[in-house]
Amino acid sequence: MTEQTQTPTSQYVLECRDVSRTFMIGRGPFTEKRPLRAVQDISLQVRRGEVLAVVGESGCGKTTLAKMLLGLLEPTAGDILYEGVPISSVDRRDVARRIQPVFQDPYSSLNPRKTLAQIISLPLDVHKIGTPAERKARVEEIMELVGLPRRLLYSYPSQLSGGQRQRVAIARALAMKPEILVCDEPTSALDVSVQAQILNLLQELRDELNLTYVFISHNLAVVEHMSTRVAVMYLGRLIEFGMADQVFDHPRHPYTQALLDSVLTPEPQYSLPNIAMGRGFPNPLNPPSGCAFHPRCPHATELCQWAQPQPLAADGGTVECHLHSDPDAMAKSPRINEQKASAA
């Protein structure tokens, strides 16, 4: 492989620079199309061997970001760099060799008409790696690595349990020895006991193969367990990004604080958390003015209603909130959402 030839300037294995993706949404060919900004101006960096967790509510653009990282969607603006080289300038198949996905639903991510041997060796077949005998040996090696018994080689996905299926999906992703795995909610479709097994497997594989993970999840317990860096997304924007301990111990953005407060504890004496978020997730086709979070933010002021906060670099991460970038203006500006703040 050409791993030794990487440029010395690339201290990050994966980097996003102001990445945006806008979809034009229209009902039929004769209506006016409206822009949906699924991902806006995201900048983040991941070092080799790290686990970047991307968290956020449904519809905040996590999956769109994942598809762009995989090279399946092109950003409408900005660059995704792989070891300092823009992905757009790299051949699609070379991207595929280095970045592979693991999907949420192991029931839809495996072709029901194919045997495990066919599924796992698909990447090897497509890239014409090795002779058929070598591919078979590699498939068996990987199955052992992810803890699948060899006798399942010619089984069909319908004969497997959910956890086993997810192992197959991981095996397929690892077949070409990629450097980055993009895991899109890899455990949320599984039973709790199986979730732990899959997470442990991912941890072991990371140590063993020096993998880098981009871990998309809304399960903060999982994220806290796994990640070294956290990116919090809200309505397509990266509102907070930083090292995992930093974000979990000292969340700075009010949304991150609310997210962490929303984690359920198994302690019976605590009831459901009250996070005072008010109304639901805004319509992405008609996002709020200013800071997109202001209608739900307990600290929002009139400034937040009209001014979009700029990302503020601090402590090795960024945060996008007027509370941190303009503390003086925030103190002077009259507060809105008063009742919510008092309820909290």
């Binding site: 090279g71 194919k114 698909l122």
Partner: protein
């Protein structure tokens, strides 16, 4: 379930953790074979179709006479159940003294050739268009939907009649005309099925691996919609056999003296009132073959229908 089976199942259940639990489900092929053995319609239909295929393939060995051999001294002999019928001509002879049984047996060759080839060719055209439209979506899909709508606006029998009357009624012309007329149902069904398959993560996974679009359509999508295509193929095949019979009956299809079933009905038309068997026997042949093919198609649909997930 036998008592020791239950015991074994319980033992496995107790001894295994959630992920180790042995899922001893049969493979998709085994499920299909098991359902096929219980499906009466499929067995009956399949048997009749199998007999027809054997007749077509081994017609020279099975047929007692040459279907073109005229023997005017033995014309219009009644079938075995009629007055003066003999075992030499179990289905009797026609107005030119040709053995009707032999002509019906050779007729299966015409019907099946036209049915299979027209249905296959139409299937290739329709499934290709349907899968492309369903997979790519957007403008490509709009163009293909437009083509399908144009095709649906054509009256098939009228077009077939006019084309055949211009180019003459040979078997290749019939096959091509029917292939060009019967692809729309394939396209509609494969398009919808492809849209549904496409939204599965295994298609995204194949894209992420770097598969070409062609490979994804042929290797990932096609195997999952092949069942539906086979079911439609059986229906279209039956339809093609019927249309061939209709065209031949009108004298616009296969030309005499070729023993097409539609042509046999047409030739028997003038003797309808005193030698009705000349019409009923080839008519029943058409009826049973088309019915059996439809029953077989329904059976295939039933045995390949997914149960629950996958």
């Amino acid at each position: 379930m036998a008592p020791n089976d239950t015991a074994k199942a319980t033992a496995t259940w107790n001894g295994a953790s959630a992920d180790d639990f042995e899922v001893d489900a049969p493979s998709p092929g085994a499920v299909m074979r098991r359902r096929a053995r219980r499906h009466l319609g499929l067995i009956i239909g399949g048997t009749v179709v199998l007999i027809a295929v054997i007749c077509a393939l081994f017609a020279p060995l099975i047929a007692p006479f040459d279907p073109y051999d005229q023997e005017l001294t033995r014309k219009l002999i009644n079938p075995i159940w009629g007055k003066g019928g003999t075992w030499t001509h179990p289905f009797g002879t026609d107005a030119l003294g040709r053995d009707l049984l032999s002509r019906v047996i050779y007729g299966t060759q015409i019907s099946l050739t036209i049915g299979v080839l027209a249905a296959t060719l139409a299937g290739v055209i329709g499934s290709t268009l349907g899968m492309i439209g369903g997979y790519f979506g957007g403008r490509v899909d709009a163009v293909i939907m437009y083509l399908i709508n144009c095709k649906l606006a054509l009256p098939p029998l009228l077009v077939a009649l006019s084309v055949v009357s211009v180019f003459g009624g040979s078997i290749p012309v019939l096959i091509l005309v029917m292939a060009a007329l019967f692809w729309d149902r394939y396209a509609v069904v494969t398009r919808a099925a492809t849209q549904q398959i496409r939204s599965n993560d295994f298609v995204t996974a194949a894209e992420a691996v770097g598969c070409s679009k062609t490979r994804i359509i042929l290797r990932e999508v096609l195997p999952n919609i092949l069942n539906q295509i086979i079911v439609i193929a059986s229906l279209e095949m039956a339809l093609a056999i019927l249309v061939e019979a209709v065209l031949s009956f009108f004298g616009l299809g296969v030309q005499p003296p070729t023993p097409s079933w539609g042509l046999l009905v047409n030739e028997g038309r003038q003797y309808m009132f005193f030698k009705p068997y000349l019409i009923t026997i080839p008519g029943l042949a058409i009826f049973f073959l088309v019915l059996s093919i439809n029953m077989m198609g329904d059976g295939i649909r039933d045995i390949t229908a997914p149960e629950g997930r996958n």
